[in-house]
């Protein structure tokens, strides 16, 4: 680990002043950043500890909630409002990491965590994220865990978060305080696809600090769920995950939200499948066709082509189960 100066901020605007300096990084729970610093992949000069800021979950407008960026992952998953109104969010968090890590990790840090691509972590390998222009050893390497959607020849890494997949399905907004003031960014616009600049992972600028995640109430949230497929049954990153919410009127789909994890450089909102399903019948055939349409542009690498069929089936099956639960509920 390279030496750094440690600062604590008493409020967000003080943090932004410290965080806007060159070489500064915000520190939440440290579960990803400390690991990367130990490997000297991250080498901040200043760590601005923001873990004691924005630690509350408060009621938003009309059944919505506002989750402070410093709230621990466990606290979000245990919150009764989240469990009852946004079950997909609680499930996604509980599907990720371990009990210990969820107690440390913050909501803001979960959003800002970096890929677990093994070539990104291995400084003997080539990686365009670590060293722009160096090349990518994952494209032709061991890429079982890598992207099938939205990737580029420069980078095939995936975003590792489960929580962000649920936030993408729910259409959450991220509140950011920066040197220019406070603004709100849809979660889908926070992370970027890799293109030619995979080292630029989000739209956040120097000094920008995530202060909250804002969730509005919507019709699909109460009947939503998160499914995750991984190489072992617990404490592993997703091969493919699905966050889904469904609203039915009889047999007709009035609203549907779908996002997929483990498949792209960002949480992947399945707009194509949603458009295919909305207003149509809640049938096995319709679910399968919509999933196939979403995955049509997917491209497999040497080791991960299985994810295309896996994602298709997982989407179809998750929607099927949600529609059955909906019938039971009536």
């Amino acid at each position: 680990m390279t030496p750094f100066r440690y600062e604590t901020a008493l409020d967000a605007s003080a943090a932004v002043k410290l965080g806007a300096a060159s070489g500064a990084k915000y520190l939440g729970g440290g579960t990803n950043l400390v690991d990367l610093m130990r490997e000297t992949i991250e080498r901040p000069d200043v760590l601005v500890d923001v873990s004691s800021l924005a630690g509350e979950i408060t009621d938003g407008d009309a059944g919505g909630v506002i989750i402070g960026a410093g709230v621990k992952n466990t606290t979000v998953a245990a919150d009764r409002r989240i469990r009852e109104r946004f079950p997909v969010l609680a499930q996604s968090i509980l599907a990720g990491a371990s009990g210990q890590i969820r107690n440390m990790a913050t909501v803001g840090g979960n959003i800002m965590q970096r890929t677990r691509c093994i070539y990104f972590f291995d400084d003997a390998a080539r990686c365009n994220k670590r060293e722009p222009g160096a090349g990518c050893d994952a494209v032709d390497g061991f890429n079982r865990n890598h992207a099938i959607l939205g990737a580029s020849p420069a980078c095939v890494a995936t975003h590792p978060s489960d929580m962000c997949v649920a936030l993408a399905a729910l259409g959450a907004t991220v509140r950011v305080e920066g040197p220019g003031g406070v603004r709100e960014i849809p979660i889908l616009d926070v992370h970027r696809l890799p293109g030619e600049t995979p080292h630029i992972e989000t739209v956040l600028q120097a000094g920008d600090l995530i202060t909250a995640v804002v969730l509005g109430a919507n019709g699909v949230a109460p009947r939503s769920s998160y499914r995750k497929v991984r190489d072992r049954s617990s404490y592993a990153f997703a091969l493919v995950s699905v966050a889904a919410g469904l609203e039915l009127d009889g047999e007709t789909i009035t609203d549907v939200r779908l996002a997929i994890g483990g498949v792209a450089h960002k949480p992947w909102r399945a707009h194509v499948a949603e458009a295919a399903l909305k207003g149509g019948p809640a049938s096995t055939a319709a679910f399968r066709q919509a999933a196939e349409a979403e995955l049509a542009p997917a491209r497999g690498l040497r080791d991960n082509a299985f994810k295309i069929e896996l994602a298709t089936r997982l989407i179809a099956d998750t929607l099927e189960k949600l529609s059955q639960n909906a019938e039971t509920a009536r």
């Binding site: 680990m1 030496p3 750094f4 100066r5 440690y6 520190l27 729970g29 440290g30 579960t31 400390v34 690991d35 610093m37 130990r38 760590l47 500890d49 873990s51 466990t74 998953a77 245990a78 009764r80 469990r83 009852e84 079950p87 609680a90 499930q91 509980l94 599907a95 990491a97 371990s98 009990g99 210990q100 890590i101 107690n103 440390m104 049954s233 617990s234 404490y235």
Partner: protein
């Protein structure tokens, strides 16, 4: 920097790069807490901070000043073992013992989470007020602690005997 470890207040000067784990082992000679992977994957370094389990290897010590840290050294001692430690002996919940301090601290934190009604990924009813400590619940909630000897069956039994029985006796209990 000022720390509160196992009920003792201490003042130690360490580099900002020092992890909580290295503070305990190398600076305070509290070697009960073990270093396994040193990257948050194995759970051997688990300690309790304000009653909550964390990986001390991923924690910068500077971030944990004046927090109440409890390590395995503060849980029990020879001759006065914690009931969970007795149960690990009873059920062969270890072979080499290297993961055991982390398993014990993690299980204490886990029991407290259960008592507070924190659900897990395998909890059927996400809105339930309380959850039974079934075999599957223990396996899921303890998945952050690896045992290379494969003593999992004994570990699960020791935890269930200690906390599931207590759970059956009353709805609220102190975990540690």
């Amino acid at each position: 920097m000022r720390f509160n470890i196992n009920g003792q207040r201490l003042e130690v000067e360490v580099d900002t790069r020092t992890s909580l784990l290295d503070l305990l082992r190398d600076h305070l000679q509290l070697a009960g807490t073990k270093k396994g992977c040193n990257q948050g994957a194995c759970g051997a370094c688990t300690v309790l901070v304000d009653g909550q389990r964390i990986n001390s290897c991923l924690a910068l010590a500077v971030q944990y000043q004046d927090r109440k840290v409890v390590t395995i050294d503060g849980v029990g001692a020879p001759g006065s073992l914690h009931p969970l430690q007795e149960a690990f002996v009873e059920h062969d919940g270890f072979q080499c013992g290297y993961c055991t301090p982390g398993q014990i601290c993690s299980a204490l934190g886990m029991a407290d989470e259960l008592a507070r009604g924190v659900p897990s990924y395998v909890t059927e009813d996400l809105t339930a007020e309380t959850m039974a400590l079934t075999h599957d619940e223990v396996r899921e909630r303890m998945s952050g602690n690896l045992c290379r000897c494969g003593a999992y069956n004994g570990i699960v039994e020791a935890i269930r005997e200690t906390f599931a029985d207590a759970q059956a006796e009353g709805p609220k209990r102190e975990a540690a």
